[in-house]
C-alpha cells in the first residue's frame, strides 16, 4: 500500500507554497513533515487527504488517483487529524470517538456494538478511558487533543496524516502518542505522516522526513540523510542541537 505525491503543487491560486513535490509514503513508514509557519504543511496534508485540490500534480492511493475514489472508501484508507476542529459537538467523549466508525458503517442507521468496544480501547490507549462519559466540551485542551487522536485511531485507516498531533500534550503524552503511531507503522503496517515542530522528536520517532523550505526548495527522503544538523539549521535559521 502506498500514498504517493506525483509532482504535487500545493498552495492557493496564484501563490505556490512549495516546489512540485514527489514522494511515496509506504506501509510501515513513519514520515515527519517539518517546515516553518506558513510553509504549506497543513495545505499539503489537506491535499493528501483530498480535502483540497492541488494546484498541479496528483495524489495516488495504491496507484489510483485519489480524486477518483469514493468518499467512504477513501475515508476507510486515509485518515486526517486536523490541526483545528470545530468545538460545537454536544455529546460525550465516547459519542465523539464512535463517529470514527462512520466510514465503516454497515447499515444506514448506525454502528455495531463492536465499534463501541473499539472506541473504548482507543480511549484507553490515549489514556482518557476515564473521561468516556464526560461531555466533550468540558475537556481540557490536551485531553481534547487525545480524544481527537482516539477518534482517528477508531477510524483505523491505512494511512494516518497527522497535522501537529502532539500540540497541547504534556511531555509524557507527547511520547505516548508518538510511540503509538510509530507502533502502528512498524507493527501493523500503517503509513504515517506527521507534522512536527520538534526535530529531535522527528529524529527519534520517524524513519523518513519531508522538509519544506518555501516556494522553491524541499527535501524528502530517509531521516538519516535528510534530518542532518546543517539541513535543519538551514530550515529554521537557528542552530539545532541534535
Amino acid at each position: 500500500m502506498t500514498l504517493t505525491a506525483e509532482s504535487l503543487v500545493v498552495g492557493f491560486p496564484g501563490r505556490r507554497l512549495a516546489p512540485p513535490l514527489s514522494f511515496k509514503i509506504e506501509a510501515g513508514q513513519c514520515w515527519a513533515v517539518l517546515g516553518n509557519n506558513g510553509s504549506g504543511k497543513t495545505t499539503l496534508m489537506h491535499v493528501l487527504a483530498a480535502l483540497r485540490r492541488p494546484l498541479g500534480g496528483e495524489v495516488g492511493l495504491d496507484g489510483a488517483p485519489i480524486s477518483t475514489i469514493r468518499p467512504a472508501a477513501r475515508a476507510r484508507r486515509v485518515g486526517l487529524l486536523l490541526q483545528e476542529e470545530a468545538l460545537e459537538f454536544w455529546g460525550t467523549v465516547l459519542d465523539y470517538v464512535c463517529l470514527g466508525r462512520y466510514p465503516h458503517r454497515r447499515s444506514l442507521f448506525g454502528w455495531e456494538p463492536d465499534d463501541e468496544r473499539l472506541a473504548r480501547e482507543q480511549l484507553e490507549r490515549m489514556d482518557i478511558g476515564a473521561l468516556a462519559q464526560r461531555s466533550l466540551s468540558t475537556l481540557s485542551g490536551g485531553e481534547r487533543q487525545r480524544a481527537r487522536l482516539a477518534l482517528l485511531l477508531t477510524q483505523d485507516p491505512a494511512f494516518y496524516l497527522l497535522d501537529e498531533p502532539l500540540q497541547h500534550l504534556d511531555l509524557r503524552h507527547q511520547l505516548l502518542a508518538a510511540q503509538c503511531f510509530v507502533d502502528l507503522a512498524r507493527q501493523r503496517s500503517r503509513g504515517v505522516a506527521m507534522v512536527l515542530h520538534d526535530p529531535r522528536l522527528a529524529r527519534s520517532f520517524c524513519d523518513h522526513a519531508l522538509l519544506l523550505y518555501g516556494p522553491d526548495d524541499a527535501l524528502a527522503g530517509p531521516a538519516a540523510t535528510v534530518l542532518t544538523a546543517s539541513n535543519l539549521e538551514r530550515l529554521y535559521g537557528v542552530p539545532v542541537p541534535l
Partner: protein, 327 residues
Amino acid sequence: MIAARARRTVFVLVLFAGLAVASLGVGLLAGSVPLSFSDVARVLTGRGTSAISEIVLTIRLPRLLAAFACGGLLALAGTLLQVLLRNPLADPYVLGISGGAGLGLLTATSLGLGYAPSQLAGLIGALAAVLTVFGLSFRAGDWNLYRLLLTGVVFSAGCGALISLTLLLAPQAAVKGMLFWLIGDLSGAGNPGWALAVMLVLGIVSIMGAGALNVLSLGRDKAATLGVSVVAAEIVIYLAASAATVTSVALAGTVGFVGLIVPHLIRLLGITDLRWLIPTAILGGGALLSFADTAARSVWAPLQLPVGVLTALLGVPVVLLLLARRR
C-alpha cells in the same frame, strides 16, 4: 454506565411517544363541547351518534392531526437547521421562509383576494424565499454557510419591514386575521393528510441520514475526512428543512418557538445523538403543538386564541426550568 444512558434515551423516546398519544387523546376530548372518553371511543369504533361523530371526525381530528404535523415538521426543520448552520439559535424561519410566505399572503389578503388565493400567494412567497436565498448564497465550488445564514437573516428583515407596512395599510377588518396568521393559527387548517405524508417522508429521510448529520456536526472538514459528501449533504438538509417549514407555514402560518426550542429541550434531557434526537423531536413538536392548539380552542371557549401564543406559554416555563436545573 452506557446501558444506563441507552435506557435513558429509550425512556425519553417512549415518554415523548406517550405524550404524543396523550396530546391526541386530550385533543379529541376537550373543546367547547367537552366529550366523555366513552363518547369518543364509540365514535372511533364506528358506533357514535351522528352529532358527536361530526364533532370528533370532521372538526377535531383533522385539526389535531394538522397541529401534530405542523409541530413535528417545525421541530424537524429546527433540528436540521441547527445542525446545518452550526448555530443553536437557528429556527425554521431564520432563512426567510416565514418572511416570504407572510409577505405573499398578507399582500394578497390586503388586496382583497379571498382565502384560497391568499393561501396560494403565501405558498408562492415561501417558495420564492427558498429560491431567492439559496440562489443568492450558492456559488458552485464555494457554498458558504455564513453567507447562507446572513442572506436569510437580511432577507427576513426586509420581508419583516414590508409585512409591517402591509399591516399598516391593510383595511382594519383584515388586520386581525393577518395577526392570527403571523402568530400562528390552526383554525383555517385544511386536510392535514398531505402534511402528515410530508412529515413521514422527511422524518424517515432525516433519520436515515442522521449518522451523516452526527458526523457533520464535527465540522465540514472533519466530516469530509470521514467520508461525508459535505456540500451534497448540506444542500439536501437545506431543502428538507425548507420543505418541512413551507408545509407547516402553509397549514398554520408562522407558529413560533416550537422549531427553536424542542430540539434544545431534548438535548437538555440528555439526547444529543441525532439518530434519537430527530424522532424524539418530531414526536415532541407534534405533542407540544397538539396540546397548545387544544388549549387555544378550549381554555377561553368559545373564544379561540392563535396557537402560537399558547406554544410559547406552555413551552417557556418547561425550558426555563430545565435550563435552571442543569448544573
